[in-house]
Protein backbone atom coordinates (compact mmCIF):
# COMPACT_ATOMS: atom_id res chain seq x y z
CA UNK A 1 0.00 0.00 0.00
CA UNK A 2 1.12 3.54 -0.72
CA UNK A 3 2.64 5.55 2.10
CA UNK A 4 0.71 8.26 3.87
CA UNK A 5 1.54 11.81 2.90
CA UNK A 6 2.19 12.35 6.61
CA UNK A 7 5.14 10.07 7.38
CA UNK A 8 4.53 10.19 11.09
CA UNK A 9 1.26 8.35 10.47
CA UNK A 10 3.12 5.47 8.81
CA UNK A 11 5.66 5.41 11.59
CA UNK A 12 3.00 5.29 14.30
CA UNK A 13 1.15 2.48 12.52
CA UNK A 14 4.41 0.59 12.08
CA UNK A 15 5.28 0.99 15.76
CA UNK A 16 1.90 -0.39 16.70
CA UNK A 17 2.40 -3.28 14.32
CA UNK A 18 5.85 -4.02 15.75
CA UNK A 19 4.40 -4.22 19.24
CA UNK A 20 1.71 -6.58 18.00
CA UNK A 21 4.31 -8.82 16.39
CA UNK A 22 6.31 -8.85 19.58
CA UNK A 23 3.25 -9.84 21.54
CA UNK A 24 2.39 -12.66 19.11
CA UNK A 25 5.89 -14.01 19.49
CA UNK A 26 5.95 -13.81 23.25
CA UNK A 27 2.53 -15.40 23.69
CA UNK A 28 3.47 -18.27 21.41
CA UNK A 29 6.70 -18.76 23.31
CA UNK A 30 4.85 -18.80 26.63
CA UNK A 31 2.28 -21.31 25.43
CA UNK A 32 5.01 -23.62 24.13
CA UNK A 33 6.99 -23.24 27.31
CA UNK A 34 3.97 -23.97 29.51
CA UNK A 35 3.41 -27.17 27.54
CA UNK A 36 7.03 -28.19 27.81
CA UNK A 37 6.87 -27.63 31.54
CA UNK A 38 3.74 -29.76 31.69
CA UNK A 39 5.15 -32.72 29.85
CA UNK A 40 8.54 -32.57 31.54
CA UNK A 41 7.28 -31.66 35.01
CA UNK A 42 9.75 -28.80 35.06
CA UNK A 43 8.59 -26.48 37.81
CA UNK A 44 11.31 -23.89 37.21
CA UNK A 45 10.20 -23.61 33.59
CA UNK A 46 6.61 -23.25 34.76
CA UNK A 47 7.62 -20.47 37.11
CA UNK A 48 9.50 -18.62 34.41
CA UNK A 49 6.43 -18.92 32.16
CA UNK A 50 4.30 -17.30 34.86
CA UNK A 51 6.90 -14.57 35.24
CA UNK A 52 7.00 -13.93 31.48
CA UNK A 53 3.28 -13.33 31.41
CA UNK A 54 3.97 -9.97 33.03
CA UNK A 55 5.71 -8.88 29.84
CA UNK A 56 2.64 -9.88 27.82
CA UNK A 57 0.44 -7.84 30.13
CA UNK A 58 2.76 -4.85 29.83
CA UNK A 59 2.69 -5.10 26.03
CA UNK A 60 -1.10 -5.10 26.07
CA UNK A 61 -1.12 -1.85 28.02
CA UNK A 62 1.45 -0.34 25.65
CA UNK A 63 -0.54 -1.32 22.56
CA UNK A 64 -3.68 0.17 24.08
CA UNK A 65 -1.89 3.43 24.71
CA UNK A 66 -0.39 3.50 21.21
CA UNK A 67 -3.79 2.87 19.66
CA UNK A 68 -5.32 5.63 21.77
CA UNK A 69 -2.64 8.05 20.64
CA UNK A 70 -3.09 7.04 17.02
CA UNK A 71 -6.82 7.69 17.20
CA UNK A 72 -6.34 11.08 18.85
CA UNK A 73 -3.58 12.27 16.55
CA UNK A 74 -4.44 10.77 13.18
CA UNK A 75 -8.16 10.01 13.35
CA UNK A 76 -7.73 6.93 11.20
CA UNK A 77 -10.36 5.85 8.68
CA UNK A 78 -10.89 2.93 6.30
CA UNK A 79 -8.07 0.31 6.43
CA UNK A 80 -6.14 2.36 9.00
CA UNK A 81 -9.18 2.47 11.27
CA UNK A 82 -9.77 -1.24 10.80
CA UNK A 83 -6.18 -1.99 11.71
CA UNK A 84 -6.22 0.11 14.87
CA UNK A 85 -9.60 -1.26 15.90
CA UNK A 86 -8.46 -4.83 15.23
CA UNK A 87 -5.20 -4.26 17.10
CA UNK A 88 -7.20 -3.31 20.18
CA UNK A 89 -9.29 -6.47 19.88
CA UNK A 90 -6.37 -8.76 19.04
CA UNK A 91 -4.24 -7.67 21.98
CA UNK A 92 -7.05 -8.57 24.32
CA UNK A 93 -7.12 -12.08 22.89
CA UNK A 94 -3.33 -12.33 23.01
CA UNK A 95 -3.32 -11.18 26.60
CA UNK A 96 -5.93 -13.82 27.50
CA UNK A 97 -3.85 -16.47 25.73
CA UNK A 98 -0.94 -15.32 27.84
CA UNK A 99 -3.07 -15.74 30.96
CA UNK A 100 -4.06 -19.23 29.85
CA UNK A 101 -0.41 -20.18 29.32
CA UNK A 102 0.28 -18.96 32.84
CA UNK A 103 -2.70 -20.97 34.03
CA UNK A 104 -1.22 -24.15 32.55
CA UNK A 105 2.07 -23.30 34.25
CA UNK A 106 0.20 -22.85 37.51
CA UNK A 107 -1.29 -26.33 37.08
CA UNK A 108 2.20 -27.71 36.55
CA UNK A 109 3.27 -26.23 39.86
CA UNK A 110 0.24 -27.72 41.58
CA UNK A 111 1.04 -31.12 40.14
CA UNK A 112 4.40 -30.73 41.86
CA UNK A 113 6.49 -31.96 38.96
CA UNK A 114 4.26 -34.93 38.34
CA UNK A 115 3.72 -35.40 34.61
CA UNK A 116 0.37 -36.55 33.23
CA UNK A 117 0.30 -40.32 33.49
CA UNK A 118 -2.33 -40.52 30.87
CA UNK A 119 -1.93 -37.62 28.54
CA UNK A 120 -4.96 -38.55 26.45
CA UNK A 121 -4.94 -36.16 23.47
CA UNK A 122 -3.03 -33.34 25.14
CA UNK A 123 0.13 -33.51 22.94
CA UNK A 124 -2.00 -33.51 19.80
CA UNK A 125 -4.09 -30.59 21.02
CA UNK A 126 -0.93 -28.72 21.96
CA UNK A 127 0.60 -29.24 18.50
CA UNK A 128 -2.57 -28.11 16.79
CA UNK A 129 -3.05 -25.00 18.88
CA UNK A 130 0.57 -23.90 18.48
CA UNK A 131 0.28 -24.42 14.72
CA UNK A 132 -2.94 -22.45 14.75
CA UNK A 133 -1.33 -19.56 16.53
CA UNK A 134 1.52 -19.57 14.02
CA UNK A 135 -0.94 -19.65 11.13
CA UNK A 136 -2.97 -16.80 12.63
CA UNK A 137 0.17 -14.74 13.05
CA UNK A 138 1.12 -15.36 9.42
CA UNK A 139 -2.39 -14.43 8.27
CA UNK A 140 -2.09 -11.28 10.35
CA UNK A 141 1.32 -10.43 8.94
CA UNK A 142 0.20 -10.93 5.38
CA UNK A 143 -3.29 -9.53 6.00
CA UNK A 144 -4.45 -12.68 4.27
CA UNK A 145 -8.18 -13.33 4.75
CA UNK A 146 -8.06 -16.77 3.13
CA UNK A 147 -5.37 -17.97 5.53
CA UNK A 148 -7.36 -16.48 8.38
CA UNK A 149 -10.48 -18.35 7.25
CA UNK A 150 -8.48 -21.59 7.24
CA UNK A 151 -7.52 -20.95 10.87
CA UNK A 152 -11.18 -20.48 11.78
CA UNK A 153 -12.09 -23.65 9.91
CA UNK A 154 -9.40 -25.72 11.66
CA UNK A 155 -10.54 -24.70 15.12
CA UNK A 156 -13.30 -27.24 14.68
CA UNK A 157 -10.69 -30.00 14.74
CA UNK A 158 -9.43 -28.86 18.14
CA UNK A 159 -13.00 -28.64 19.42
CA UNK A 160 -13.77 -32.13 18.13
CA UNK A 161 -10.66 -33.65 19.66
CA UNK A 162 -11.45 -31.90 22.92
CA UNK A 163 -15.01 -33.23 22.95
CA UNK A 164 -13.86 -36.76 22.09
CA UNK A 165 -11.19 -36.49 24.75
CA UNK A 166 -13.73 -35.59 27.38
CA UNK A 167 -15.82 -38.64 26.55
CA UNK A 168 -12.78 -40.91 26.76
CA UNK A 169 -11.77 -39.39 30.06
CA UNK A 170 -15.21 -39.87 31.57
CA UNK A 171 -15.06 -43.56 30.70
CA UNK A 172 -11.53 -43.74 32.04
CA UNK A 173 -12.50 -42.08 35.31
CA UNK A 174 -15.48 -44.39 35.71
CA UNK A 175 -13.20 -47.38 35.30
CA UNK A 176 -10.32 -45.98 37.39
CA UNK A 177 -11.79 -43.92 40.24
CA UNK A 178 -8.36 -43.61 41.85
CA UNK A 179 -7.30 -41.43 38.91
CA UNK A 180 -10.22 -39.01 39.11
CA UNK A 181 -8.26 -36.12 40.58
CA UNK A 182 -5.46 -36.61 38.06
CA UNK A 183 -7.95 -36.79 35.19
CA UNK A 184 -9.65 -33.65 36.42
CA UNK A 185 -6.34 -31.80 36.22
CA UNK A 186 -5.73 -33.08 32.69
CA UNK A 187 -9.30 -32.18 31.72
CA UNK A 188 -8.72 -28.71 33.03
CA UNK A 189 -5.59 -28.31 30.93
CA UNK A 190 -7.37 -29.67 27.86
CA UNK A 191 -10.08 -27.09 28.39
CA UNK A 192 -7.46 -24.36 28.63
CA UNK A 193 -5.92 -25.47 25.33
CA UNK A 194 -9.33 -25.50 23.72
CA UNK A 195 -9.89 -21.94 25.00
CA UNK A 196 -6.57 -20.82 23.54
CA UNK A 197 -7.83 -22.18 20.22
CA UNK A 198 -10.94 -20.02 20.53
CA UNK A 199 -8.83 -16.92 21.11
CA UNK A 200 -6.73 -17.76 18.06
CA UNK A 201 -9.97 -17.93 16.09
CA UNK A 202 -10.93 -14.48 17.34
CA UNK A 203 -7.60 -13.16 16.07
CA UNK A 204 -8.23 -14.74 12.66
CA UNK A 205 -11.67 -13.13 12.51
CA UNK A 206 -10.08 -9.76 13.12
CA UNK A 207 -7.56 -10.39 10.34
CA UNK A 208 -10.46 -10.79 7.93
CA UNK A 209 -11.93 -7.56 9.25
CA UNK A 210 -8.64 -5.74 8.70
CA UNK A 211 -8.16 -7.16 5.22
CA UNK A 212 -11.68 -6.88 3.88
CA UNK A 213 -13.84 -4.99 6.33
CA UNK A 214 -16.18 -7.95 6.86
CA UNK A 215 -17.58 -8.59 10.29
CA UNK A 216 -17.32 -12.40 10.50
CA UNK A 217 -17.59 -13.03 14.21
CA UNK A 218 -20.19 -15.69 15.01
CA UNK A 219 -20.28 -16.67 11.34
CA UNK A 220 -19.98 -20.20 10.04
CA UNK A 221 -16.53 -20.78 8.43
CA UNK A 222 -18.16 -22.06 5.24
CA UNK A 223 -20.17 -18.87 4.96
CA UNK A 224 -17.00 -16.82 5.50
CA UNK A 225 -15.33 -18.66 2.63
CA UNK A 226 -18.30 -17.95 0.37
CA UNK A 227 -18.08 -14.30 1.33
CA UNK A 228 -14.39 -14.13 0.48
CA UNK A 229 -14.75 -16.04 -2.75
CA UNK A 230 -17.69 -13.97 -3.84
CA UNK A 231 -15.88 -10.66 -4.07
CA UNK A 232 -13.28 -9.23 -6.38
CA UNK A 233 -10.01 -8.06 -4.95
CA UNK A 234 -10.14 -4.40 -5.93
Amino acid sequence: MTDHILHRFDKDLEDLNTHMERMFKLVRKNIKQAMEALFSGDIALAESTIEQDKAVNALEVEVDEMARQLIVIHQPVASDLRFVFAALKIVTDLERMGDLAASIAQNVKQLGGQVPQEDFQLPLMKELVIEQLKAARNAYRERDPVKAQAVIERDRTIDEIHAANQRIMLTYMAENPSLISHCMAVANIAKVIERIGDHVTNVAEMVIYVARGHEVRHTDPGRILELLEGEDDD
Partner: protein
Protein backbone atom coordinates in the same frame (compact mmCIF):
# COMPACT_ATOMS: atom_id res chain seq x y z
CA UNK B 1 -12.64 5.32 -16.97
CA UNK B 2 -13.70 4.60 -13.44
CA UNK B 3 -16.92 2.90 -12.61
CA UNK B 4 -18.73 3.91 -9.49
CA UNK B 5 -19.39 1.23 -6.95
CA UNK B 6 -21.77 -1.25 -8.51
CA UNK B 7 -24.10 -1.34 -5.52
CA UNK B 8 -25.73 2.07 -5.79
CA UNK B 9 -26.74 3.27 -2.35
CA UNK B 10 -29.77 5.23 -3.57
CA UNK B 11 -32.09 3.57 -6.07
CA UNK B 12 -33.56 5.76 -8.79
CA UNK B 13 -36.97 5.29 -7.15
CA UNK B 14 -35.60 6.76 -3.90
CA UNK B 15 -33.74 9.61 -5.58
CA UNK B 16 -35.17 13.07 -5.21
CA UNK B 17 -32.41 14.43 -7.39
CA UNK B 18 -31.35 12.24 -10.27
CA UNK B 19 -28.14 13.12 -12.05
CA UNK B 20 -27.57 11.11 -15.18
CA UNK B 21 -24.58 11.03 -17.52
CA UNK B 22 -23.64 14.58 -16.62
CA UNK B 23 -20.73 16.00 -18.61
CA UNK B 24 -19.65 19.57 -18.19
CA UNK B 25 -17.12 21.74 -19.97
CA UNK B 26 -15.60 25.09 -19.16
CA UNK B 27 -14.60 26.13 -22.66
CA UNK B 28 -12.65 23.17 -24.07
CA UNK B 29 -11.89 21.73 -20.69
CA UNK B 30 -14.12 18.85 -19.68
CA UNK B 31 -14.61 19.05 -15.92
CA UNK B 32 -17.19 16.30 -15.39
CA UNK B 33 -16.97 13.12 -17.44
CA UNK B 34 -20.43 11.65 -17.29
CA UNK B 35 -21.49 11.54 -13.66
CA UNK B 36 -24.58 9.63 -12.57
CA UNK B 37 -25.95 9.44 -9.06
CA UNK B 38 -29.18 9.71 -7.14
CA UNK B 39 -29.62 11.91 -4.09
CA UNK B 40 -32.05 10.84 -1.45
CA UNK B 41 -34.74 13.07 -0.02
CA UNK B 42 -34.31 14.31 3.56
CA UNK B 43 -30.88 12.82 3.88
CA UNK B 44 -27.45 14.41 3.85
CA UNK B 45 -25.18 13.57 0.94
CA UNK B 46 -21.53 14.62 1.07
CA UNK B 47 -19.34 15.21 -1.99
CA UNK B 48 -15.66 14.73 -1.24
CA UNK B 49 -12.50 14.68 -3.31
CA UNK B 50 -9.31 16.66 -3.91
CA UNK B 51 -9.38 20.16 -5.34
CA UNK B 52 -10.31 20.17 -8.99
CA UNK B 53 -12.24 16.88 -8.84
CA UNK B 54 -15.47 18.54 -9.93
CA UNK B 55 -17.45 18.23 -6.71
CA UNK B 56 -18.29 21.93 -6.38
CA UNK B 57 -19.03 22.14 -10.09
CA UNK B 58 -21.45 19.25 -9.75
CA UNK B 59 -23.06 20.86 -6.71
CA UNK B 60 -23.59 24.06 -8.66
CA UNK B 61 -25.25 22.13 -11.47
CA UNK B 62 -28.09 21.26 -9.11
CA UNK B 63 -29.35 24.85 -8.99
CA UNK B 64 -27.86 25.95 -12.30
CA UNK B 65 -25.28 28.24 -10.76
CA UNK B 66 -22.96 27.33 -13.62
CA UNK B 67 -25.31 29.04 -16.07
CA UNK B 68 -23.65 32.28 -15.13
CA UNK B 69 -20.19 31.09 -16.11
CA UNK B 70 -19.23 31.98 -19.64
CA UNK B 71 -18.18 29.09 -21.83
CA UNK B 72 -19.84 26.56 -19.57
CA UNK B 73 -21.92 23.89 -21.27
CA UNK B 74 -23.25 20.55 -20.21
CA UNK B 75 -24.73 17.29 -21.42
CA UNK B 76 -26.81 14.78 -19.53
CA UNK B 77 -29.61 15.52 -17.16
CA UNK B 78 -30.37 16.68 -13.64
CA UNK B 79 -33.85 15.78 -12.53
CA UNK B 80 -35.51 17.30 -9.50
CA UNK B 81 -38.57 15.36 -8.44
CA UNK B 82 -38.84 13.99 -11.95
CA UNK B 83 -38.48 17.34 -13.72
CA UNK B 84 -35.48 18.15 -15.88
CA UNK B 85 -34.11 21.36 -14.36
CA UNK B 86 -32.30 22.18 -17.61
CA UNK B 87 -35.48 22.03 -19.68
CA UNK B 88 -35.98 25.27 -21.68
CA UNK B 89 -39.18 26.22 -19.86
CA UNK B 90 -37.64 26.06 -16.39
CA UNK B 91 -37.63 29.37 -14.52
CA UNK B 92 -34.16 29.53 -12.97
CA UNK B 93 -35.20 32.01 -10.28
CA UNK B 94 -38.00 29.67 -9.27
CA UNK B 95 -35.61 26.72 -9.35
CA UNK B 96 -33.30 28.50 -6.93
CA UNK B 97 -36.09 28.95 -4.44
CA UNK B 98 -36.52 25.18 -4.54
CA UNK B 99 -32.79 24.54 -4.38
CA UNK B 100 -31.09 26.96 -2.00
CA UNK B 101 -27.39 27.39 -1.54
CA UNK B 102 -25.03 28.19 1.31
CA UNK B 103 -21.53 29.26 0.36
CA UNK B 104 -18.07 28.84 1.79
CA UNK B 105 -17.84 32.40 3.04
CA UNK B 106 -20.88 33.71 4.84
CA UNK B 107 -22.40 36.36 2.61
CA UNK B 108 -25.22 38.15 4.39
CA UNK B 109 -26.83 41.05 2.57
CA UNK B 110 -25.63 44.46 3.77
CA UNK B 111 -28.95 44.86 5.52
CA UNK B 112 -30.37 44.27 8.96
CA UNK B 113 -30.62 40.77 10.37
CA UNK B 114 -34.39 40.99 9.94
CA UNK B 115 -34.14 42.10 6.32
CA UNK B 116 -31.68 39.35 5.49
CA UNK B 117 -34.45 36.86 6.19
CA UNK B 118 -37.41 38.94 4.99
CA UNK B 119 -35.97 40.04 1.66
CA UNK B 120 -36.56 36.94 -0.45
CA UNK B 121 -39.93 35.94 1.06
CA UNK B 122 -41.17 39.47 0.33
CA UNK B 123 -40.08 39.23 -3.31
CA UNK B 124 -41.65 35.80 -3.67
CA UNK B 125 -44.79 36.85 -1.85
CA UNK B 126 -44.36 34.20 0.82
CA UNK B 127 -45.32 36.45 3.76
CA UNK B 128 -47.66 39.27 2.85
CA UNK B 129 -48.20 41.30 5.98
CA UNK B 130 -45.96 42.47 8.78
CA UNK B 131 -47.17 39.98 11.39
CA UNK B 132 -46.73 37.03 9.05
CA UNK B 133 -43.26 38.28 8.15
CA UNK B 134 -42.30 38.73 11.80
CA UNK B 135 -43.38 35.18 12.45
CA UNK B 136 -41.49 33.89 9.45
CA UNK B 137 -38.29 35.71 10.45
CA UNK B 138 -38.53 34.40 14.01
CA UNK B 139 -39.30 30.89 12.82
CA UNK B 140 -36.35 30.80 10.41
CA UNK B 141 -33.96 32.18 12.99
CA UNK B 142 -35.19 29.58 15.47
CA UNK B 143 -34.67 26.75 13.03
CA UNK B 144 -31.22 28.05 12.23
CA UNK B 145 -30.41 28.04 15.93
CA UNK B 146 -29.80 31.79 15.94
CA UNK B 147 -32.92 33.28 17.49
CA UNK B 148 -31.70 33.44 21.10
CA UNK B 149 -28.52 35.17 20.01
CA UNK B 150 -30.13 37.82 17.81
CA UNK B 151 -33.70 38.34 19.03
CA UNK B 152 -32.80 41.65 20.69
CA UNK B 153 -30.85 43.03 17.75
CA UNK B 154 -32.90 42.23 14.67
CA UNK B 155 -32.39 45.73 13.34
CA UNK B 156 -28.61 45.52 13.52
CA UNK B 157 -26.68 44.76 10.35
CA UNK B 158 -26.20 41.08 9.57
CA UNK B 159 -22.58 41.78 8.80
CA UNK B 160 -21.99 42.75 12.46
CA UNK B 161 -22.46 39.14 13.56
CA UNK B 162 -19.59 36.68 14.06
CA UNK B 163 -18.62 34.42 11.14
CA UNK B 164 -20.48 31.43 12.55
CA UNK B 165 -23.58 33.53 13.28
CA UNK B 166 -23.43 35.01 9.78
CA UNK B 167 -23.35 31.51 8.31
CA UNK B 168 -26.38 30.50 10.37
CA UNK B 169 -28.06 33.71 9.22
CA UNK B 170 -27.38 32.66 5.63
CA UNK B 171 -28.92 29.25 6.38
CA UNK B 172 -31.95 30.99 7.95
CA UNK B 173 -32.18 33.15 4.83
CA UNK B 174 -32.03 30.07 2.63
CA UNK B 175 -34.80 28.22 4.44
CA UNK B 176 -37.03 31.34 4.47
CA UNK B 177 -38.14 30.63 0.90
CA UNK B 178 -39.03 27.05 1.84
CA UNK B 179 -36.65 25.21 -0.46
CA UNK B 180 -36.71 21.45 -0.89
CA UNK B 181 -32.97 21.13 -1.24
CA UNK B 182 -30.10 22.99 0.43
CA UNK B 183 -26.71 22.89 -1.26
CA UNK B 184 -23.76 23.70 0.97
CA UNK B 185 -20.38 24.44 -0.52
CA UNK B 186 -17.83 24.03 2.28
CA UNK B 187 -20.08 25.87 4.72
CA UNK B 188 -17.67 25.58 7.65
CA UNK B 189 -14.28 26.12 6.07
CA UNK B 190 -14.13 29.71 7.31
CA UNK B 191 -15.38 28.89 10.79
CA UNK B 192 -13.78 27.92 14.10
CA UNK B 193 -14.51 24.49 15.64
CA UNK B 194 -17.34 25.71 17.87
CA UNK B 195 -19.10 27.56 15.05
CA UNK B 196 -18.50 24.46 12.90
CA UNK B 197 -20.09 22.21 15.52
CA UNK B 198 -23.15 24.47 15.62
CA UNK B 199 -23.55 24.28 11.85
CA UNK B 200 -23.14 20.51 11.94
CA UNK B 201 -25.76 20.28 14.69
CA UNK B 202 -28.01 22.41 12.53
CA UNK B 203 -27.49 20.19 9.48
CA UNK B 204 -28.54 17.24 11.61
CA UNK B 205 -31.81 18.98 12.45
CA UNK B 206 -32.45 20.42 9.01
CA UNK B 207 -32.27 17.05 7.31
CA UNK B 208 -35.62 16.18 8.85
CA UNK B 209 -37.13 18.81 6.57
CA UNK B 210 -34.71 19.33 3.71
CA UNK B 211 -32.55 17.35 1.35
CA UNK B 212 -28.98 18.47 1.94
CA UNK B 213 -25.95 18.12 -0.29
CA UNK B 214 -22.67 19.27 1.19
CA UNK B 215 -19.25 19.69 -0.36
CA UNK B 216 -16.51 19.46 2.22
CA UNK B 217 -12.75 19.09 2.40
CA UNK B 218 -13.06 18.01 5.99
CA UNK B 219 -13.32 14.24 5.92
CA UNK B 220 -14.32 13.97 9.54
CA UNK B 221 -17.10 16.41 8.84
CA UNK B 222 -18.36 14.30 5.96
CA UNK B 223 -18.23 11.27 8.26
CA UNK B 224 -20.12 13.10 11.00
CA UNK B 225 -22.88 14.84 9.09
CA UNK B 226 -23.70 12.78 6.03
CA UNK B 227 -25.71 9.66 5.38
CA UNK B 228 -24.17 9.07 1.95
CA UNK B 229 -20.79 10.03 0.60
CA UNK B 230 -19.67 10.38 -3.00
CA UNK B 231 -15.95 10.49 -3.77
CA UNK B 232 -14.88 12.28 -6.95
CA UNK B 233 -11.54 12.34 -8.67
CA UNK B 234 -10.61 14.24 -11.83
CA UNK B 235 -14.20 14.69 -12.88
CA UNK B 236 -15.29 11.10 -12.29
CA UNK B 237 -17.48 9.68 -9.57
CA UNK B 238 -15.22 7.00 -8.16
CA UNK B 239 -17.35 5.63 -5.39
CA UNK B 240 -20.73 6.38 -3.89
CA UNK B 241 -21.93 4.54 -0.82
CA UNK B 242 -23.39 5.01 2.59
CA UNK B 243 -21.02 7.07 4.68
CA UNK B 244 -20.12 4.38 7.18
CA UNK B 245 -19.00 2.10 4.35
CA UNK B 246 -16.89 4.82 2.75
CA UNK B 247 -15.08 5.55 6.00
CA UNK B 248 -14.66 2.01 7.31
CA UNK B 249 -14.35 -0.20 4.25
CA UNK B 250 -14.39 1.66 0.93
CA UNK B 251 -14.53 -0.49 -2.14
CA UNK B 252 -12.15 1.41 -4.38
CA UNK B 253 -8.42 1.84 -3.88
CA UNK B 254 -8.59 5.50 -4.93
CA UNK B 255 -11.20 6.24 -2.28
CA UNK B 256 -9.13 4.42 0.32
CA UNK B 257 -5.97 6.30 -0.65
CA UNK B 258 -7.71 9.65 -0.56
CA UNK B 259 -9.54 9.35 2.73
CA UNK B 260 -6.58 7.78 4.54
CA UNK B 261 -4.24 10.52 3.36
CA UNK B 262 -2.16 8.43 0.97
CA UNK B 263 -2.86 10.46 -2.13
CA UNK B 264 -0.36 12.12 -4.38
Amino acid sequence: MNEASSAEPVSSADAMIGIDGLRLWYGDHEVLHGVSLGIRERHVTAFIGPSGCGKSTLLRCVNRMNDRIQGCRLEGSVMLDGTDIYAPDVDVVQLRTRVGMVFQKPNPFPKTIYENIAYAPRIHGIARNGVAMDELVENCLHRAGLWEEVKDKLQQPGTALSGGQQQRLCIARTIAVRPEVILMDEPCSALDPIATAKIEELIDELKNEFTIVIVTHNMQQAARVSDYTAFFYLGDLIEYADTSTIFTAPNKTQTEDYITGRFG
